[in-house]
């Protein structure tokens, strides 16, 4: 029994750290509140969609920025989508990089965009790992 209590505490502490370190914001709590007995896998479903969308968008961003004549409207559209989906699950740090990324798109600043692409990939990888760990611990 003490072991279960300890496990629960580890889960709660880990979850709290994701919020304290800015990886997740209130929107993630909204998702958890939408999950119930009739919809027990809701959070995993939504987060899985976020992973799928993000990986597709990151690939498309890399391709678009690799073109000789970069179509910044296309790049901006992809970043806009990534910003939307990251804000929808509460992936706050990814969302923040997207905001800066869009500003560089507006300026058609290639160097800035490439830097943001690296940053957003980094933040996405971090939050993905954290969420996968959270789901493993919760099971």
């Amino acid at each position: 029994m003490a072991y279960l209590v300890q496990l629960q505490k580890q889960f709660d502490d880990y979850r709290a750290s994701l919020f304290n370190e800015g990886f997740l914001d209130d929107q993630f709590e909204q998702l958890q509140q939408l999950q119930d007995e009739s919809n027990p896998d809701f959070v995993v479903e939504v987060v899985s969609l976020f992973f799928q969308d993000s990986e597709r968008l990151l690939n498309e961003l890399a391709t678009s920025l690799d073109q000789q004549n970069t179509d910044y409207r296309k790049v901006d559209a992809h970043v806009h989508q990534l910003k939307g989906s990251s804000s929808s699950i509460g992936a706050q740090r990814v969302q923040r990089v997207c905001i800066a990324f869009r500003n560089f798109c507006e300026e058609q600043n290639t160097e800035g965009c490439l830097k943001c692409l690296q940053q957003v990939k980094h933040e996405y990888t971090l939050v993905k790992n954290k969420l996968e760990t959270l789901f493993k611990v919760s099971n």
Binding site: Q30, Q33, L34, V46, L49, D53, H80, K83, S88
Partner: protein, 178 residues
């Protein structure tokens, strides 16, 4: 912005939410499925099982947002139908589908939310259309409102906003029957 108060629709005059609600449904209308509802659709009967559920059309190119908003409105006791772009939303209405509420994304491929809203209003659709966009401010959001929205929220929705929308629609429907 509080629904029910006077709002400026951008159609050149101030109107209330009630002016935009399409209260009387055409019994002969057929609903054309624009997208298969996922099997995870939840039917939440709520407290008023005998009352016909409010219907909402969720128009968004993001499958994540469609799932998220569908879950929220279903929990609020509404029935959701999905469309992945503005053209599908317009085509549904051309096929005589009607809804109590349309949640319209702004940026979508094929036909965006601004164009779709304009088209729906030009067709005479008076349903409450609420924009849902990641753009929190600026000329693009203003243009979206002026296309004929009743209100515009920043993504994502939350339970409070959905509850407020349900309440506004119910109050408007009650007013229409008086």
């Amino acid at each position: 912005m509080v629904l029910g108060e006077e709002i400026v629709t951008g159609r050149g005059s101030s109107t209330t939410v009630a002016d935009h609600i399409d209260g009387a449904k055409d019994d002969s209308s057929t609903t054309v499925e624009a997208e298969e509802i996922s099997e995870s659709t939840i039917t939440d009967h709520g407290d008023d099982e005998d009352q016909k559920k409010l219907s909402v059309l969720i128009v968004d190119d993001s499958s994540l947002i469609r799932l998220l908003h569908m879950t929220m409105v279903t929990r609020a006791g509404m029935e959701a139908q999905l469309a992945e772009d503005g053209k599908k939303a317009v085509d549904l209405h051309r096929s005589r589908a009607s809804f109590d509420l349309i949640l319209m994304d702004m940026e979508m491929p094929v036909m965006n939310g601004v164009e779709a809203t304009r088209e729906l209003r030009a067709m005479g659709v008076e349903t409450m259309i609420v924009g849902v966009t990641s753009n929190s401010e600026g000329p693009e959001r203003q243009a979206f409102v002026e296309a004929g929205l009743n209100d515009c929220y920043t993504k994502p929705l939350n339970d409070d906003k959905v509850a407020a929308l349900v309440q506004a629609i119910k109050e408007t429907n009650i007013q229409k029957t008086i």
